[in-house]
Structures are given as C-alpha cells and as structure tokens.
C-alpha cells in the first residue's frame, strides 16, 4: 500500500484544492453520500458556483453550456445518476465538448441495497458505450492524482472522462 496520509485526511481536500488549481468554476450535482465532503467544500467555496440539479442529465447539459461560455465545470454524481445521462452524453460526444465527471459507485462493493446493484454493474459499460473514458480508482490515496489526470485528458484533449470512485473507498451503502 502507498503512503498513508494522516488519520484525518480525506481525498476531498486534495481534490477541492486541485479544482482551484485547475480553475474549475462550476460544479453540478445531485447530492450523494460518497461525494458529500467534496460537495460541501465546493458549496463553501465562493469561487465555485455549485448547482444542485433535479436530475443528472441536467448537469451534462450545464457542463456543455459552461464550456461554450469559457468555464470549466465538473459533474459529481452517484453511479445511479449515470443511467440518467446516457442520451445527453451524445451531445458531448458529437460536439467534442470536454466533460469531467466524478462518479461515486454503489452496487459494487459490499452493497446492502439490492436495488443499487443493477445500475452499479452497468455503470462502466454504459459510460464506455457513450464513449466516456473511464478511470476506475479503488484506493483513496490515488483519487487526487487520478482526478488530475482525468482533468488533463478532458480539458486539454477535449474528451469526456469519468473518474469512477469505488464503493470500497466511500463505504456508502455497505452499512446496515
């Protein structure tokens, strides 16, 4: 195992700092447990406009609008939300508009809500079918560097990229 950070370290600190460094100005999300700490940091940051969506496909469209207007954004979603985005992702593909998404997995590792499993298992194949490049990460220490790499691929190489954060990291849905 790699370097263990201090006991109180959470990957969201580094990722939020990375967002600032990259000049991310919009974040769109439907609230999710696995991403809650990151969402809270973004919400508290006046330099980032955080938009709560009613459904995740709105966020894909919003990222397109942000790019047209010259801003970089990030879409934060749970794996279930990916299933609401597949058609809207066509726009990113068709127009070569960059997309950076962080996807927090359910239905993958120790899931105790059976209804989460189908979508959890389809998440990566669905993203790939929609031509989104997937970086799967299952160690907390590796999340920041993976997000950094994904951001480069998205914004510098004009691609749709999803960092899929394993349920092993968040532990969501594996209690009870």
């Amino acid at each position: 195992m790699g370097n263990k950070k201090s006991k109180n370290w959470h990957w969201s600190q580094d990722v939020h700092a990375l967002f600032k460094k990259l000049g991310i100005e919009q974040v769109a999300y439907v609230p999710d447990g696995g991403l809650a700490k990151l969402i809270n940091r973004c919400q508290a940051d006046a330099s980032i406009r955080s938009v709560v969506l009613t459904t995740e496909e709105e966020g894909v469209a919003q990222m397109a609008g942000a790019w047209l207007g010259g801003q970089k954004g990030v879409l934060l979603t749970q794996s279930g939300g990916v299933g609401n985005c597949i058609n809207m992702l066509s726009m990113m593909q068709e127009c070569r508009i960059p997309l950076l998404a962080l996807v927090s997995m359910r239905g993958e590792w120790g899931e105790c809500f059976p209804w989460q499993v189908p979508m959890g298992q389809s998440t990566i194949p669905a993203l790939e079918a929609a031509k989104v490049i997937v970086h799967h990460v299952d160690q907390a220490e590796k999340v920041p560097e993976t997000v950094h790499a994904a951001a480069r691929l998205a914004f510098d190489s004009y691609r749709a990229v999803a960092v899929v954060i394993s349920q092993r990291i968040s532990g969501s849905g594996s209690r009870g």
């Binding site: 939300g81 299933g83 597949i86 389809s122 929609a130």
Partner: protein, 177 residues
Amino acid sequence: MATKKKKKTDWSKEVFKVLKKADIRQIAYVPDAGHTSLIKMAVADNAIKPVSLTSEQEGIAVLSGAWLGGEAGALLMQSSGVGNVINMLGMANECRFPLLMLVTMRGEWGEFNPWQVPMGQATETVLDAAGVIIHRADDPAEIAETVEAAAKIAFDSGRMVAVLIGQRVVGFKDWTK
C-alpha cells in the same frame, strides 16, 4: 434479392395484432415518427390506455406499476430515448418486472443528423449492459413475429426485452417534406 417496398403501415398493423393477443393494456410512449401508426391505433383502441410521457424513463416506471396492478404494457420509443432509461431499468431488473420495449433505431442507416449517431451506435451496448435481452428486426416482414417472441419472453419468462426496429425499415427521413 427483390427490392422491398416500405411497408410501414402494414407492419404496424401486424404488430398491433400481436400486442392485442398478448393482452397489452397500456402503451407508453414519447412520440417517434416510426411509431406514428402504432400510437394512433393504441389511442383509438378503447381497451388500451395510451400514456404520453415527457421522458422515456417515466415509461419504465409506468409499466412496472401496470404490472403491479395486473396489466401488461409496452413502451414505444426512439433509440435516443434508450439513453434516458438506463437508471430506471435498474428497478425493472431488480424486481424482475416484465418489460417489453419497441425501439425505432436512428443513427445507423443513412442517418443525416450527426447528433443521432452516438446514441444510435450505443443503444445495443447500453441495453445489454443494463441486462435487457435484445432482438433486432431489420426486415418489415419479421417485425411482428419478433415482437410476438419478445412478448413471450417478457411476460411468460419475466424478463426485460427490447425489439430494435432497424432504421432500414422506417427509411430515411425526408427533409423536403
């Protein structure tokens, strides 16, 4: 091979007969040109409740509810709509709700609108990833029997099934009209 004439309304009539035989009572849809005739027939039939959706994932939920209430239904949509149902399919998957979907394809044969191509090309893959059994029908003559077979798997074997009706069947959209 002899040239096939477009038999759009013929196959729709045959498919409607199949749906009636399967005792379909609800037909949910977001309108698509390829389904125009089928939708008209559903609306005209007193024994069928047509449900006009604002977005296709509503249809998965509607048909699941129909099944809970003892009725069989079918969802009519275009391939782009498939991209809107993937999360909702999780519910049908998890509960083993029968699901019969008729999908008219875009983005695969003579498509003139580039924005249709991504989802057209992804349709089979995402349905498959979501656990849906896929039957293709590219010849008007085979659509009705394919739908009949699909309905059997759906309602007798409790599965999610999609019949993909090839763009070749519906023909190129004529922009000059």
